[in-house]
C-alpha cells in the first residue's frame, strides 16, 4: 500500500500536512496575533513590525504565537 499517500498542502510554518495554508494551531495563532495587535497599539502606541518583534522575544508568549509572529515578519519583508 506504500505510495497511496496523497500529496497534501503543508502548513507554511511547521510543514505539517494540512488542507489549508496553515495547520489549525498556526492558523489560530496568526488570528490571535492579529487580534491582539489592537490592544498593543492602544496601550503601547506600537507599530505592527515592532509589535511582532516584541511578541517574538516575550517569554510569556506561546510557542506557536512566536512562530506565527516570526512568519509574519518574514512575510512582510
Amino acid at each position: 500500500m506504500k505510495g497511496v499517500h496523497q500529496i497534501k498542502n503543508r502548513c507554511r510554518i511547521c510543514s505539517v500536512p494540512s488542507e489549508r495554508e496553515f495547520c489549525d494551531f498556526h492558523a489560530e495563532a496568526i488570528k490571535r496575533v492579529k487580534e491582539h495587535f489592537e490592544v498593543w497599539k492602544q496601550r503601547k502606541g506600537i507599530c505592527w513590525r515592532d509589535y511582532l518583534r516584541e511578541i517574538m522575544k516575550n517569554e510569556k508568549a506561546g510557542v506557536w504565537v512566536k512562530e506565527a509572529a516570526e512568519y509574519l515578519i518574514r512575510e512582510s519583508q
Partner: protein, 677 residues
C-alpha cells in the same frame, strides 16, 4: 486432616496475618515454590497462603486477530512464577474444607481473592468468608478473623471485574485499530496506546498545552508600593490593580511617591483556622508533593510499604473520618512512647476529650489514613518522612483552631489616591504547633494601625507587566483535576500519570505534552472523540461505584459499554485509510524531529538507519545519498533520542542512548574532544 485455607494478597501481608492469628506457633514451609504458613486457630489447622497481586487477568477468548473484539475471558497471567503459584494454590485448595479471603479490603483486593478462589480453587468463592481490616495490627487482624463476613464481598469484586473488562475492551480495540490502520497505510508496526482514563487525562493536558502555546501576552502596568506606619513597613495595594496606560500609572506614582498620607479607616477581623482533616490518599499525595516533592505514585508506594509493616492504616482510602471505634486514645498513647511525639501526645491526652476534626469525605471500606501506634523496626529515610507526615497530620486533627487577626487600613495619600494596607497577626498557634515543621507559623504582633496615623509612601514604583498563560499542571494538580472530574480511582490515578510519562506522552515536573502526546491526542480527537471525553469515562466510574454499592448489575454495565462503543469501532473501519495516512505522517515527522536537523547539511534530519550489509544501526542523514553523507556510530542496543542541550565543547547536537538504567551521551561531531573522555 483437612484445614482452612486463608488467602492473602501478598507474601508480606500473609506473614503478618499468619503471625497475628497463630502467635508464635507458626510453621513456615514452601509448597512448590509457594510460601505456606501453617498454624492452629482455636484447635483447627489453617494454612495462610499469599498471592502475588493479580494472578488472573482478562484475555481474548477466541484465537486469531480480529477487530472489534468483545469476546473475553479471565485466564492465568503469563508470568511463569504466578502460574506456578496458581498450581500450588489449586493443590492446597483440594485439601481445604473452608476458605477465608484475607486480601486487602478494597476493589482490587476483593477481585484478587474472588478470581483465585473461583478459578484456581474450583469455585470455592461461594463457600469463602471475607476478613475486613484497615490495618495489619495483631488486634485488628484477630478481630477481623473472628467477625469475618460469611460470604465474599461480591459487589466490590464485581466492580473491579467490570473495570478490568471495560479497560481491556477500550484499550485492546483502540490499539488494534491504530496499529492495523498504520500497517495498511504501509507505515509498519508502531505501538500506540490509548486508555479509558489515560486518554481523557492526556486530553486535559493537551488542552492546557494548546492554551499555553496560543497565549498572546497583553501589556499592562501595575504599582509596587510600600507604606511605613509607626516605623513598620507594609506592602500596599493601590485601588487600581491594572493600568492600561503607562502614563496613568506614572501620574499616580508622581503624585504619591515619598508623600505622607494618613490612615483613614481601620478594620480588624479575627478569624479561626481549623485544623486540616486527616489524610485520605489524594490529600496525602498532594501534601507529600508540596513538602517533599514526591510524585503521587512514589508517595503511594511508600504508604503501601508502611501499611504492610503495620505502621499505618490502609492508604487507598477516600475517607477523612476517624471514628472513635479506632481506639484513638490508645493510638495517641502509643505514639506518646515515641520521643518526638511525646510532648504533643501528652497535651492532647491532658485535654480530656479526644475528638478529632474530620473532613467531609467518606469511604465505605476504610477510615482516613492514620498511624497504628506501632513504629516499624526499620524504616528507610523516605518511609520515615511519610510516616512522620501522617503522624503529625493525625495529631494536628486533635488540635485547637489557630486564631488569626487580619488588619486592613485605608491610607489616603491625597484626595484622589488611596492605598490598602493589609497585615496579619497570628494570635493563637493552635493545631499548627502539632503539625510542625510542615507549617511554620509563628506568633506575630505588629504595631496596631490607628485612624489618623501617619503613613509614608516609601515606594510607589511603576512595573511593566504582561498577562500570563495558564499554569502548567504538576502531578499533584493533575491528581486534583482527575478527582474533580471523576477520572480513575484513588488507587489508579498515580499509576495513570506514571504511564503517561513512561510512554513519552508527557515530560517535566511542570507537565509538558510531548510531540508524541500531541500526535496521539490529535488522532484520538479526530477519529475516536469518545475516547477523550471526560463525560463518558466519569459516567462509567459512576456505574462502577453503583455496582460496588450493590445498586447495579455488572453484566448490564459491560453490555452498555459494548453497545456504546461497538458502533464507534465499526465506524473506524471505514476510516482506516485516512487514519493510517495520518498516523504514517505523524510517526514519520516524529522520527525526523526526534534527533534534530543534520549538523552537516542543515537541510536534512538525523535518523537511525540500519546498514543493509552488516545489519548494524547508526545515525545518518535523510538527505543521503543525494545531498549528504553524514553518519555517526551508536551502540546497538537502547532507545536513541536527542539530548536536552547541545555539546558544551563544540555546540553540535548531543544524542542520548538509553538501555535500562544506562545512558550514553555522544556529541555527533566525531572529532569533538568530549567524545574522547
Amino acid at each position: 486432616m483437612s484445614y482452612q485455607l486463608i488467602l492473602c494478597e501478598k507474601p508480606s501481608a500473609a506473614m503478618r496475618i499468619a503471625y497475628a492469628l497463630g502467635g508464635t506457633k507458626v510453621r513456615r514451609e514452601r509448597y512448590k515454590g509457594l510460601p505456606v504458613f501453617w498454624l492452629e486457630i482455636e484447635g483447627k489447622r489453617a494454612a495462610v497462603v499469599p498471592a502475588l497481586g493479580h494472578l488472573y487477568g482478562v484475555q481474548q477468548n477466541s484465537t486469531g486477530w480480529s477487530f472489534p473484539i468483545f469476546d473475553l475471558r479471565w485466564a492465568p497471567l503469563k508470568d511463569r512464577r504466578k502460574r506456578a503459584w496458581i498450581g500450588a494454590i489449586a493443590e492446597m485448595a483440594k485439601g481445604a474444607d473452608s476458605y477465608v479471603c484475607a486480601c486487602d479490603f478494597d476493589v482490587e483486593g476483593s477481585l484478587i481473592g474472588y478470581t483465585i478462589l473461583r478459578y484456581a480453587c474450583g469455585g470455592a468463592d461461594i463457600k469463602a468468608k471475607r476478613m475486613r481490616f484497615s490495618t495489619l495490627t495483631k488486634d485488628e487482624l484477630r478481630s477481623a478473623y473472628k467477625s469475618a463476613l460469611g460470604r465474599l464481598d461480591y459487589e466490590r469484586a464485581y466492580a473491579g471485574k467490570v473495570r478490568h473488562e471495560v479497560d481491556w475492551i477500550f484499550g485492546v480495540n483502540t490499539s488494534r485499530a491504530l496499529m492495523d490502520a498504520m500497517g495498511r497505510a504501509g507505515g509498519g508496526f508502531e505501538v500506540l496506546s490509548a486508555g479509558r482514563v489515560q486518554s481523557p487525562t492526556l486530553h486535559a493536558l493537551y488542552k492546557r498545552e494548546v492554551a499555553i502555546n496560543l497565549h498572546v501576552p497583553d501589556p499592562f502596568w501595575s504599582l509596587n508600593n510600600e507604606v511605613v506606619i509607626k516605623g513598620a513597613r507594609y506592602p500596599a495595594e493601590y485601588k487600581v490593580k491594572e493600568f492600561f496606560s503607562r502614563k496613568d500609572a506614572e501620574d499616580v506614582a508622581e503624585r504619591c511617591k515619598g508623600k505622607t498620607g494618613r490612615v483613614k479607616d481601620v478594620v480588624v477581623r479575627s478569624r479561626r483556622a481549623p485544623p486540616p482533616p486527616p489524610f485520605n490518599l489524594g490529600d496525602l499525595q498532594r501534601e507529600a508533593y508540596r513538602v517533599f516533592g514526591y510524585s503521587p505514585s512514589k508517595t503511594q508506594r511508600i504508604a503501601e510499604r508502611l501499611y504492610l509493616s503495620a505502621a499505618i492504616s490502609y492508604p487507598r482510602t477516600s475517607s477523612q473520618k476517624l471514628p472513635q471505634s479506632l481506639g484513638l486514645g490508645r493510638i495517641i498513647e502509643r505514639l506518646g512512647r515515641i520521643e518526638r511525639y511525646r510532648e504533643v501526645a501528652r497535651k492532647i491526652l491532658e485535654e480530656g476529650s479526644i475528638k478529632p476534626r474530620e473532613g467531609r469525605l467518606t469511604d465505605p471500606a476504610h477510615p482516613a489514613i492514620h498511624p497504628t501506634g506501632t513504629l516499624p523496626k526499620r524504616m528507610s529515610g523516605e518511609e520515615g518522612r511519610i510516616f512522620d507526615l501522617i503522624v503529625r497530620r493525625f495529631l494536628a486533627a486533635f488540635g485547637e483552631d489557630a486564631i488569626l487577626e487580619d488588619r486592613e487600613a485605608v491610607v489616603e495619600a491625597n484626595e484622589r489616591d488611596s492605598f490598602k494596607v493589609r497585615a496579619r497577626d497570628i494570635v493563637e498557634l493552635g493545631w499548627t504547633e502539632y503539625y510542625r515543621p510542615y507549617v511554620s507559623w509563628r506568633k506575630t504582633g505588629g504595631p496596631r494601625f490607628e485612624v489618623n496615623d501617619e503613613a509614608i509612601l516609601a515606594r510607589v514604583d511603576v512595573e511593566d507587566k504582561f498577562t500570563s498563560p495558564p499554569e502548567r499542571y504538576t502531578a499533584s494538580k493533575l491528581i486534583a483535576y482527575m478527582e474533580r472530574q471523576g477520572l480513575g480511582t484513588k488507587s489508579t490515578r498515580a499509576e495513570i500519570i506514571d504511564n503517561l510519562y513512561r510512554r513519552g506522552y508527557i515530560e517535566g515536573r511542570e507537565i509538558k505534552v510531548t510531540d508524541l502526546g500531541f500526535a496521539v491526542v490529535g488522532i484520538l480527537k479526530r477519529f475516536f472523540p469518545e475516547m477523550v471525553s471526560v463525560k463518558m469515562t466519569s459516567a462509567l466510574e459512576e456505574d462502577m461505584a453503583e455496582i460496588e454499592s450493590g445498586r447495579r448489575d455488572q453484566v448490564e454495565v459491560v453490555l452498555k459499554v459494548v453497545d456504546t462503543i461497538k458502533p464507534v469501532f465499526e465506524r473506524i473501519i471505514e476510516k482506516y485509510e485516512e487514519i493510517g495516512e495520518e498516523l504514517f505522517e505523524v510517526t514519520k515527522r516524529l522520527r525526523m524531529n526526534e534527533l534534530g536537523p543534520c549538523p552537516k547539511c542543515r537541510s536534512g534530519h538525523m535518523r537511525v538507519v540500519r546498514s543493509r550489509k552488516s545489519g548494524k544501526r547508526f545515525i545518518g542523514c535523510d538527505n543521503y545519498p543525494n545531498l549528504c553523507n553524514f553518519s555517526f556510530p551508536i551502540p546497538q542496543r537502547g532507545k536513541v533520542s536527542r539530548g536536552n542541550a547541545n555539546c558544551s565543547v563544540c555546540g553540535f547536537p548531543v544524542i542520548e542512548v538509553r538501555d535500562n538504567w544506562k545512558i550514553w551521551r555522544f556529541c555527533v561531531n566525531e572529532g569533538c574532544p568530549s567524545n574522547k573522555k
